[in-house]
Symmetry: C2
Subunit: 350 residues, 2 copies
């Protein structure tokens, strides 16, 4: 089992260190090698996704990523921004299926800005298409037309791109509550009319899963109004970016949420749902649990080691029950710990 | 003052009737004429925005709309769907500035799914560009390419389109708390990189207004996490569709929220933020207050009659204080009323 480890920027190195310690403690046959991605890679090599990293990522079975980005790179030319590294590795590895669970841990119910009765027991899986849509569509750019600047991008999907992500959603739903809600804007966008058509066709392959459709504006509302109506939500890259972040924040504890980005053969990139948090970087206070849980997802999806994945997840639940909290999820009466101490607690609970 | 009244579909005719009664009671020099838009227009003429309606709308000073749409037209060819009527009138009248307030009335604080301390006193104005972006961009369509279906749309903005909507946002902020948050996805989309560039340039014209920028995924999160951080939020047509609906739902009382869509000369179309609610249509239970408040916005923006607008708004506050509630905002202890009785209450309070 070869894992390419990409600490990245901001709090990335700190949180990755704890996930690596947890993986090592499991005594699996794992080889881990580190490389640069994002802003740190730009600083060292001029590219956010350098050749050496590409080589390692292509050769690995899975990639474990901390986070990328930070204000110091925001004014770089587009090709030298951290995000381009992330988009580059997703595209190059064909990681079209982004799985983002929004789960509210009972111990952290107070962290949500929503009323407890609205979010208690929340467990949604957002399945976001990750290598198509307006993110990668050509033509795109900024040009001068008729004497003024003109910015343009292209949204597009082929039916096979839509079908394969819908299948991922249906397969996931079969292991959950057998409900898929497909989100589009078919009343305005032809591209997403095709999305809806193909979703309906693909649904016929899964008669035991209930398929519904929702317009993206309504989905943004329903997540606030009654999030527990959803089991699996599937949508395109752009809408998925927005809705998955909204759904994560419903829990109030985004520092707990892992994510997986998979190719057609379960090779995957695993990363926390949160960002690089430059404001607290280097202070040893970041919450490493989302990254540790991302490592668990890696063991489950890429290495089909349900046992090891479950051990990590149980350990995380245990440290929550024991009252360990990093600052982002702290409430009075709990034991406030830093990044390293939280890692220690998980190791002890393993 | 010539007003074109478009009841539309679903609950549209019921809620419009109450707004018309309120306008008549104000004893202003108003001429109102009704016409068809949406599904009812498709049924009667084959077109969702028939010629007769176009003539009336073009000649009027303002348009008052109920709502359009319903499941019975969902499988029509695209040109015969209710939404095309709405998009058609927006484009033809040049209604580029969509103002959508998200206000939580103190009396309705319980209606929100968010905790009271998070939303109490909420007062955001979303300024959404309404005649550009991927909504109207060419080329678009569904074609067969390489033996499979391929759906595509085009997102685009010119710098003058961006500048004029930013100015609307800045002008609105000057009358409020002097903060504008411009939302884009500049880290991925060139079109919205131009948006950010022009937002920064336009901001220099308004040194007394604080301008900030936020990525759309983060904006979707921040609306859930801490909505009161926002004063005016300005964004493009697509992101605005999603974020304004999310923001409305934070209040839990979308049946209270009006909207205005303005051209360059303050001609406007005014409509409630909610939809046509086919499930309760014809039952006389819909909440007419958003439509009545839309009529107030019309008096303020198009007819510069702040006095009459204020009278309506004060009357609405009074009926809430008196305990009148339609089903959507009802809680035990209040007086449950239907559409007509709510209209009566507003008339009595005027
Ligand atoms: C950093 C950015 C390019 C990225 C995206 O938009 O996909 C991020 O927001 C995410 O959701 O992983
Ligand atoms: C009905 C639809 C075309 C419309 C839109 O997307 O603009 C609606 O959602 C709105 O926000 O007014």
């Amino acid at each position: 089992m070869k894992i390419c480890v990409l600490p990245g920027d901001g709090i990335g190195p700190e949180i990755i260190a704890e996930a690596v310690r947890v993986l090592k403690a499991l005594d699996l046959k794992i080889e881990m090698e580190e490389a640069l991605l994002g802003g740190c890679a730009v600083d060292a090599t001029g590219s956010p996704y350098p050749d050496a990293t590409q080589k390692l990522a292509l050769a690995a079975d899975a990639v474990l990523l901390g986070a990328v980005g930070g204000p110091q790179w925001d004014n770089n030319p587009r090709e030298q921004r951290p995000e381009r590294g992330l988009l580059g590795i997703r595209k190059q590895l064909g990681l079209f299926a982004n799985l983002r669970p929004a789960i509210l841990y009972p111990e952290l119910a107070n962290a949500s800005t929503l009323k407890p009765e609205v979010v208690a027991g929340l467990d949604i899986l957002i399945v976001r298409e990750l290598t198509g849509d307006i993110y990668f569509g050509q033509p795109r750019g900024i040009e001068v037309r008729n004497g003024e600047r003109f910015g343009f991008n292209t949204m597009h999907y082929t039916e096979s791109e839509i079908r394969r992500i819908l299948r991922v959603a249906f397969e996931a739903a079969k292991k959950r509550n057998r409900k898929v809600c497909s989100v589009d804007k078919m009343n305005v966008l032809e591209c997403t009319q095709l999305w809806r058509d193909v979703a309906i066709e693909t649904g016929r392959e899964y008669p035991d899963v209930e398929l519904s459709h929702m317009l993206v504006d309504n989905a943004a509302m329903q997540l606030v109004k009654n999030p527990k109506q959803f089991d699996v939500m599937v949508t395109g890259n752009m809408f998925g970016d927005i809705l998955s972040d909204e759904a994560s924040m419903l829990t109030g504890s985004i520092g707990m949420l892992p994510s997986a980005s998979l190719d057609a053969n379960n090779k995957g990139l695993y990363e926390p749902s949160h960002g690089s948090a430059p404001d607290i970087a280097g202070k040893g206070v970041a919450n490493p649990l989302a990254t540790i849980l991302s490592a668990a997802m890696m063991l489950r999806y890429t290495f089909a080691n349900e046992d090891a994945a479950g051990r990590i997840e149980t350990a995380v639940k245990k440290v929550l029950a024991q009252g360990f909290r990093t600052g982002d999820i702290y409430e009075p009466g709990m034991k406030k710990v830093g990044t390293r101490a939280m890692g220690d607690a998980v190791l002890a609970a393993l």
